[in-house]
Symmetry: C2
Subunit: 450 residues, 2 copies
């Protein structure tokens, strides 16, 4: 290695702003949550796929609105190609489906769990590399596919013990019909969605001002605001919407989609306290065309855990042939933080279940034999690998890591043909014959309080 390089890297090492390392304990929690999500996703028949972290820039460009364009990591690769780091898992899915349509069985149900990149201004809970957990169904207009996403989300979030999750539902075309009905020009519809989407954050006055500032007429802004603030049971609210927008075919279609979605939720046995209509829900991404959802926890004030929606036009952008699709994305980072803060899951601090101590350099034979026996018996076991190996140091190592069981096999134990097994949290010791070691440890470990 060159001496310049040596000099160049001698200052304290850093991780890039907005990016993070994960220590073992954090990783064990992340892995536990991901596994639980995977189990639920697979329960519904969703299959795993993966796509590259880099895509041609033009695959990603123009799909995420102005904001997305600004936040996307892109650069020229070695061959002078414009490439971008993936910004979400939905556009890569659309590209994937277009590329592999002849190899897939439709409707195609897939899940995808992995990192995406956005050069956001780093702040609490917002990172430049973060993981999304997506489920999508491609190739059907059936509202049952949308209903399944709602049901999966509720189960997935329940599987990590998140309380009071509510899925808010709306429909992009309802927003559009609403905007049209109120007299907003078609090319200004996105402006209206973006303004409305901030209702929770900036209030009705803020939304009105934003709309006026973008040239929406006063009366139109008021009509939009009146409608999106309708609250109550989904049935009566949709009836009211239908009455106000009577005769508008887009509104009719949207209301009938939502009624069908609600009917499927009912048939799937989804608890009606777990979903609600929110006519002000727009979702930021440009590619949605039908129902949109958001998973929200209001009490405690956790906010949004994920967004979803139907995007019947996106795959067609790659294919010239429309393939309908719907699905959504749970944000892993926020979920991990909440699970950690509220201590919703118990996860061990280490994978190790047992440390076999070495009495002295004459006892390597027995120590390594026992360790390999435990491993063969399905127990995660270690010997202390440090060079200075007094017993105190070895026990301290187990203690610091939270390894629950420590084994001793010194001259006394060898003379008696036994191994001493100490449970570190209680200090209780057992004398166990070597042949019964793995079975005894399995029993002890299974009996530990969680």
């Amino acid at each position: 290695m060159t001496s310049e390089a040596r000099a160049g890297t001698s200052r304290p090492p850093q991780v890039l702003r907005g990016m993070r390392d994960f220590l073992p304990q954090q990783m064990l929690l992340r892995q536990e949550i991901i596994e639980r999500f995977q189990t639920v996703f697979e329960r519904y028949g969703f299959e795993p796929i993966d796509t590259p972290l880099l895509e041609y820039y033009e695959v990603l460009a123009g799909k995420y609105g102005e904001e997305g364009e600004k936040l996307m990591y892109h650069f020229q690769d070695h061959g002078g190609r414009e490439v971008g780091l993936r910004y979400d898992l939905t556009v890569p899915l659309a590209r994937f489906v277009a590329a592999h349509r002849h190899e897939l069985t439709f409707p195609f149900k897939r899940y995808h769990i992995g990192p995406v990149f956005r050069a956001e201004r780093p702040q609490r809970g917002r990172y430049r590399q973060f993981w999304q957990c997506d489920v999508d169904t491609v190739g059907t207009r059936s509202m049952l596919a949308d209903a399944e996403v709602v049901s999966i989300w509720i189960e997935a979030l329940a599987s990590v013990n998140l309380p009071n999750v509510v899925i808010q539902l709306n429909h992009r075309q309802l927003l559009q019909a609403l905007a049209t009905h109120a007299g907003v020009a078609a090319e200004q519809a996105l402006t209206v969605y973006r303004a409305i989407d901030k209702l929770e954050k900036i209030g009705p006055e803020g939304v009105r001002e934003e709309m006026l500032r973008h040239g929406i007429a006063e009366a139109a802004a008021q009509a939009v605001l009146d409608l999106v603030q309708l609250r109550g049971e989904p049935g009566p609210v949709l009836a009211e919407v239908r009455a106000r927008l009577t005769g508008d075919p887009q509104a009719e279609a949207a209301v009938s989609d939502l009624l069908e979605l609600l009917r499927y939720l009912d048939l799937l046995g989804v608890d009606p306290r777990r979903y609600t209509l929110n006519l002000a829900l727009a979702r930021g991404l440009d590619y949605y065309t039908g129902p949109v959802f958001e998973a929200v926890v209001e009490e405690p004030a956790i906010g949004s855990l994920g967004g979803a929606g139907r995007y019947d036009g996106l795959i067609g952008m790659f294919l010239g042939e429309e393939i309908p699709a719907t699905g959504g994305s749970l944000g892993l980072e926020r979920i991990v933080e909440v699970v950690q803060e509220l201590q919703l899951l118990h996860v061990p601090t280490t994978v190790s279940q047992a440390l076999v101590t070495v009495f002295d350099d004459q006892h390597w034979g027995v120590a390594l034999r026992l360790t390999q026996q435990l491993r063969a018996g399905g127990i995660n076991a270690e010997v202390y690998l440090g060079e200075r190996r007094d017993l105190r140091r070895q026990i301290q190592y187990a203690d610091r890591k939270g390894i629950p069981v420590v084994l001793f096999c010194g001259p006394d134990e060898l003379a008696r043909g036994m191994v001493t097994v100490r449970e570190l949290t209680t200090g209780i010791q057992h004398q166990v014959p070597e042949a019964e070691l793995a079975a005894t440890l399995r029993r002890l470990l299974a009996a530990r309080p969680q």
Copy 2:
């Protein structure tokens, strides 16, 4: 979305050269292999960590030799920082340890499984994004840590049924002593390693020519070639090396490391047919300082599945304080290809275990109720989500995906209070009461031939 963007992406979608999508069936195999590796790694007490895919360029620069410098993806991010996509998992580990040394318990054993990036010329089995599966122990000079890596590799590769794996062992300082002894100047040592490393590929004559071309003297080149071609049992070979390099302290240290490593392998009960000395093994990376290994399958001619070694200087480059470390990297892509080609693992084609058919639109209630019941009973179940739902189409869907069991709940079944359960491969049908459905399916699925 803008119309320019629409136009820009209307040509056929592509994945970047040297990068790949993974379809569900491929992903299920990848996940199975990764899970088996994880199980073995955790069995030895290695803990999972993760690091960002992007690092400051200067963290990565100067660690991988000329070749690495050329193949690294790097660019300027939004803040004008020079950043690089990670090139392996070892340098990020060194940076991680330096950054988190006060939060870790040493010796620190970690595994890390994830993608890395190299802008290689794409060719069979070589990709620009590929996964590595690393285990490393940081903070000890004990050869037991190196021996554990050998033992883990043998177990991990056995866990995916790879036959005839042999771990080739050598020592960087032995190579260096050898070079010095033969009269090669210190600054030319890396040239010698790189030439020797190609012995298998270009033969002794090729290696000699490469050394001469780089200015190594004729006699030195010959002495190096004579030594690295010694073959046989590790014990006698090391005795011969010791005799030839007698009095060279570096050679003495290297031989004594290797003897200690061999002793630990013996105490760990590792099958001696699974490892061998190969004095010509250099390993390309610049940061190795002690023992180096490579996992090789010669019959069938599979070649290298992973490389490892001790790198006692690398972490010190970030810290100004030396922290010894050893570990290695199994290459997932090659392993997946071999497991697939030789059909070493049986993995289902789909996660779905059952399709509940819908008789007609009047039967959604029962179909969705049964589906949810199966899911609650731990069975991965689907209903067909397509819009045109004749029974033929639904069965074809199950058949194409390889879903093993199809359920029918039409008017006949409802009248009898039964569900028809058909095993698709055999065509055998069972009449099952609704209450016993999940239990019956679990039994049927468990009894299927693998």
